[in-house]
């Protein structure tokens, strides 16, 4: 049964404020996904060099201009979405997976192991991500795989801490104590009763984490530690374009703008979902 509200009040309560920021964020994400799924539909060959059209300013023929080899910057940005975002997604998958496992262990085992893990999360979370990734890359060598694993490890603590906190709450819940009383095996208890109830905040957290991962990935490949030059990864494009900044700003600024737009969109939508999830007005 619902309370009968005067219609004007009801309308005011349910009316959605127009949210241009959110719409823009959604549009950017949609475009980014489209670019990941079907880059060739929107853009030409990202590697096609044209020595006669080097470093041309943005025009109708080349929306984002051309770079130092005469490659179309727009084509490269569109194709770069797949490179940049897949690194971010893969790193986030590692971070979420490791975070769930370590967080669950810390939350369930308690005692010394929990203390050690938690201090480890704290230290890892506060340590500069870039340095951590650099240490990993120094040991494992440069390349896309080590870039992914490095970012994954560096961002694991965010997820692990949340899962641990959730686990501490869930393990006190009546259904868990009841399950113990019913003699449910430990493994089954964790997998069937604890785990599903711990995962609630993870999707939203992963979305915000994805933005962060894309940002770090671009930074590290800007430093030359990710995909190597001909590949149209956004950070690598920036780094190539840096040398021609004095005559062609578009070759570095526009790929950078693609990173920024993607990260802002992920953050805006992630924060909105987070507020929804926590029941706060957005």
């Amino acid at each position: 049964m619902t309370l009968a509200l005067p219609r004007s009040v009801a309308r005011r309560l349910t009316r959605r404020r127009p949210r241009p920021g959110l719409a823009a964020a959604g549009l950017v994400l949609f475009l980014a996904l489209a670019a990941v799924a079907l880059p060739s539909l929107f853009a030409g060959d990202p590697l096609a060099a044209d020595p006669l059209r080097v470093l041309q300013a943005p025009s109708a023929a080349h929306w984002f201009g051309t770079d130092q080899l005469g490659r179309d910057v727009f084509d490269r940005v569109v194709h770069g979405a797949r490179h940049s975002l897949s690194i971010g997604v893969a790193a986030t998958v590692i971070a979420v997976g490791a975070g769930i496992v370590l967080g669950l262990i810390a939350g369930l085992v308690r005692g010394v192991a929990d203390e050690a893990l938690s201090r480890g999360f704290d230290a890892l979370a506060a340590f500069p991500l870039v340095l951590l990734a650099l240490l990993f890359i120094a040991i494992a060598g440069t390349g896309t795989t080590s870039l992914i694993v490095a970012i994954g490890i560096a961002t694991t603590p965010h997820h692990a801490r949340v899962v641990r906190a959730q686990t501490l709450v869930v393990r006190q819940a009546p259904y868990v104590t009841h399950a113990v009383a019913f003699g449910v095996s430990r493994l089954r208890l964790v997998l069937r009763h604890v785990l599903p109830n711990v995962l609630g905040p993870i999707p939203v957290l992963a979305m915000i984490g994805l933005g962060e991962a894309v940002l770090i990935a671009a930074g590290l490949s800007f430093l030359g530690l990710g995909p190597q030059p001909p590949s149209p990864e956004w950070g690598a494009m920036l780094s190539e374009g840096r040398g021609y900044l004095h005559i062609a700003w578009w070759a570095s600024v526009l790929p950078g703008a693609a990173v920024t737009a993607t990260v802002i969109s992920l953050t805006v939508i992630g924060r909105l979902l987070q507020n929804r999830f926590e029941g706060r007005p957005a």
Partner: protein
Amino acid sequence: MTRAIARRIASGAVVLWAAATAAYLALLAAPGDIVDSLIGDGADTPQVRAQIIAEWNLDRPAVVQYLDYLWRAAQGDLGRSYLLQRPVGEVIGDQLPPTLRLAVAAAAFGVVLALVLAVTTRRRWVRGVSSTAELIIVSTPPFLIGIVLLSVFSFRFGIFPVSGDQSWAALVLPAVTLGLPIAGVLAQVLRDGLDRALDEPFAVTARARGLTERAVLVRHALRHALIPAVTVLGWLTGVLLGGAVIIEQVFGRPGLGQVTLQAVGNGDMPVVLAVVVLAAAVFVVINTAADLAYLLIDPRLRRTTS
């Protein structure tokens, strides 16, 4: 209170030990022989190998190797770069000043800008604009900010030098680039803190005593808003250290970032390890200082801990 301080320092020491150990384990975990890892791309001669084995005690039991490594690290001896043929401490010491200058200038700029933004943008619409700007700044890769600033102020208008560290003018753009994201986050934290403080009874009392809104804000609320801001100090250090690596590359500045990148590129492990341990040390010192700063800002904490 002395006990609280002693506890903080002890736990800082534990974190340092853990960082040094993690760096050591990372070295052991590296694929291939430890001697190969330490040489990197340096000259691989029998003499160098013998030197490494002697310096790292590789002919002794593992426990001795590890304890000796810790002992040397505790004394500030960070080993030797076999690639550069110099002690690591010297290599880092040479490159520390430009990075410190950059970090201090960026932190000062970021903190001042955040304070100004949080205090002056109290009105509704200004605040909306400012919050949006902060979100954009925080989500923008710092190297993009740097590249945009470079192309506008150095290439278009020629106000600041393009690269290097010869003059104070060369410090302006890198410091602004590194300081902006700090200001973005800090301003949000401060603004939240101010909002909360202004709702407290003491703010009403202060207003009732006839203080102007500005005076309530600056003299009373700001002190409360500073407490959560101090909490993010540790994070801020991380941003400064990690950001400096990238910013130095964008602006072609000498410094720790260049050294680290070169070391990573050449597989110069002693330098990489030293940078990581040094960063951990800075992190511990800042966090301990932040914890002590709480006591300074908030007299209530002093009473409860004594």
